[in-house]
Amino acid sequence: MDAQTQDLAKIRAIIAQHKRWDAIFGIIGVLALMVGVLTFAALFADMAMQGLGRLDWNFFTAFPSRKPAQAGILSAWVGSVLVMTVTAFFAVPLGVAAGVYLEEYASKNWVTDVIEINITNLAGVPSIVYGLLALGLFVYQFGFGQSILSAGLTLALLILPVVIVATREAIRGIPQSIREGSYALGATQWQTVRDHIVPYSSAGILTGIIIGMARAIGETAPIITIGALTFIAFLPPSPVSAEFPFLNFEWLTSPFTVMPIQMFNWTSRPEAAFHVNAAAAGFVLVVMTLAMNGLAIWLRYRLRKNIKW
């Protein structure tokens, strides 16, 4: 064998070796993904196997109880719905307005810079710190107490950055010509925003709102921190009444519990029978957040496919 073919063989060997590395990394990548997939599958299957047996009509219509077999999540899911209502009431208008301001109105000055840096930093603050803020400010300073209002406000602040960022991204996708067309027809800035910018970005904004709400519904730490009770065997006063003015707001100041707190309560008890309840509540929670996130992902996918400016 002469030197040339020997070199060629060597080079071939090196190439083959490098190609092998490519293949190996491809496999490692799939394996790494599989760790996530398998964990999720195990989590879902475990919750379903443990909890599905407890999931019946009674589970949704019964109050928590000392007897695990009779306990249900009525006060928890009603509490979650009410807290989410308050959260959406504050987070959606505030977040969308802030996003619109930053994209459409803000001039490049230090105020804008401060606001932008703030939003970025707030997104990284641990959720339990929001709980401490709420405990010091809402519960004691403002005197809202350990109420649905305090919890709703806390979660609203928590998801505000999510809504703001989603709104800004959605608005950024609208071409300048839309604004120019509107101005050319004599519309003012607000008319342009109200009739064009917000409607056209509404699907993107909605995606952000859903993701934010999905996060809020599973959030436990800040609500525990404001001191929400864990054993609530009654419902807050109904928001709708039979007499005039048909709506009342007493429920805002009522003590409450929410789904994740109920699940935490059951998980931290030593009796295995309560763990079954925890699994059932967890299953409901996972299905709910998955459905919401799934909806958001689907919306975004549709959006990306359909809109061609």
Partner: protein, 317 residues
């Protein structure tokens, strides 16, 4: 013309028209200004939230540090704030936080980075289209559910391998926390890698490099500042994570760096105090704000570090 009401026809002539238009314009200008101010105030809410957080944490902590000297807070090796013989050594809680975070990051950073490289450089389009939303779903699972999973699934599983493992331990909490953080690390790293210009990859391929060589020697270094942000976000998540630890790691303060032991973290301690019924203004009540302030300082330090790293390794094309 017949569709136009008669009163409007009248105003369309002469001075009436200009006057009305001007009045309308004046009112519009005011309305526009008012709306802009309203929108600005909405944007300023975020600033007030930050001010509120700093105010609450600092004011309650100042009250706390009037009772407990800072030096004692930082150097004491016991944490027994609710006992008669009260000790306030934050190191005890800090050790739990750092140990569990280390376990979580030992999982999340390698796996997150590998997944990001795979999805950005190796995976076929179809795989990426399925894997990305799936990872997003993984990040959307409530942490209390992960806590349940760590305590009642992962710990028993680990106990089969290592029978002496206590029911509460930092290891299983940290492992599950790591899985939870993977999506945060992978999605931001992947975005950074995909932002690297194609020309760099093409240059690398043209020199005869394989995909693996291109990914590790061209794409990752070029995207490093973005990858560093992903790591920093992962660290912040791990340090601030609460429910997984409160459920699965136990709430017993324990100065240890051994993940096989149970230990309370800063966040778990706050939950524990909040679950009890401490009177507003008591020293026990103030400890959770001092603990919260420590947590904020910790995450802030990492964020500043991340900022410096990003500056240092930023590549612009």
């Amino acid at each position: 013309m017949s569709a136009v009401p008669s009163d409007r026809v009248a105003t369309m002539t002469g001075e009436g028209l200009t006057g009305q238009r001007l009045a309308y314009r004046r009112s519009r200008i005011w309305i526009e200004k008012a709306i802009e101010i309203a929108l600005l105030s909405a944007a300023l809410v975020s600033v007030f939230v930050t001010i509120g957080i700093v105010y609450v944490l600092v004011s309650e902590s100042v009250a706390f540090f009037r009772h407990v000297p800072i030096l004692q807070f930082l150097t004491d090796t016991q944490w027994t704030p609710l006992f008669d013989d009260a000790h306030f050594g934050i190191m005890v809680l800090l050790s739990g936080t750092l140990t569990s975070s280390a376990v979580a990051l030992a999982i999340a950073i390698p796996l997150g980075t590998i997944i990001a490289i795979y999805l950005s450089e190796f995976a076929p389009f179809k795989v990426r289209e399925i894997a990305k939303p799936f990872l997003e779903l993984l990040g959307g699972v409530p942490t209390i559910v992960y806590g349940y999973f760590a305590l009642l699934f992962v710990t028993p599983l680990l106990q089969r391998v290592y029978p002496d493992l206590p029911g509460f331990n930092l290891l299983s909490a940290g492992l599950v926390m790591g899985i939870m953080i993977i999506p945060y690390v992978s999605s931001i790293s992947e975005d950074a890698m995909r932002a690297v210009p194609m020309a760099l990859r093409e240059g690398s391929y043209a020199m005869g490099a394989t995909r693996y060589q291109t990914a590790t020697r061209v794409v990752v270094p070029a995207a490093f500042s973005g990858i560093a942000s992903a790591y920093i976000l992962g660290i912040s998540r791990a340090v601030g994570e609460t429910m997984i630890l409160a459920v699965a790691a136990g709430m017993q303060p324990n100065l240890t760096f051994n993940p096989l032991e149970p230990a309370a973290t800063i966040t778990a301690y706050i939950v524990q105090v909040a679950l009890g019924d401490l009177p507003h203004g008591s020293i026990g009540y103030q400890t959770i704000f001092a603990a919260g302030l420590t947590l904020m300082v910790l995450t802030l330090t990492f964020n500043i570090l991340g900022h410096v790293l990003r500056r240092r390794f930023r590549e612009t094309y």
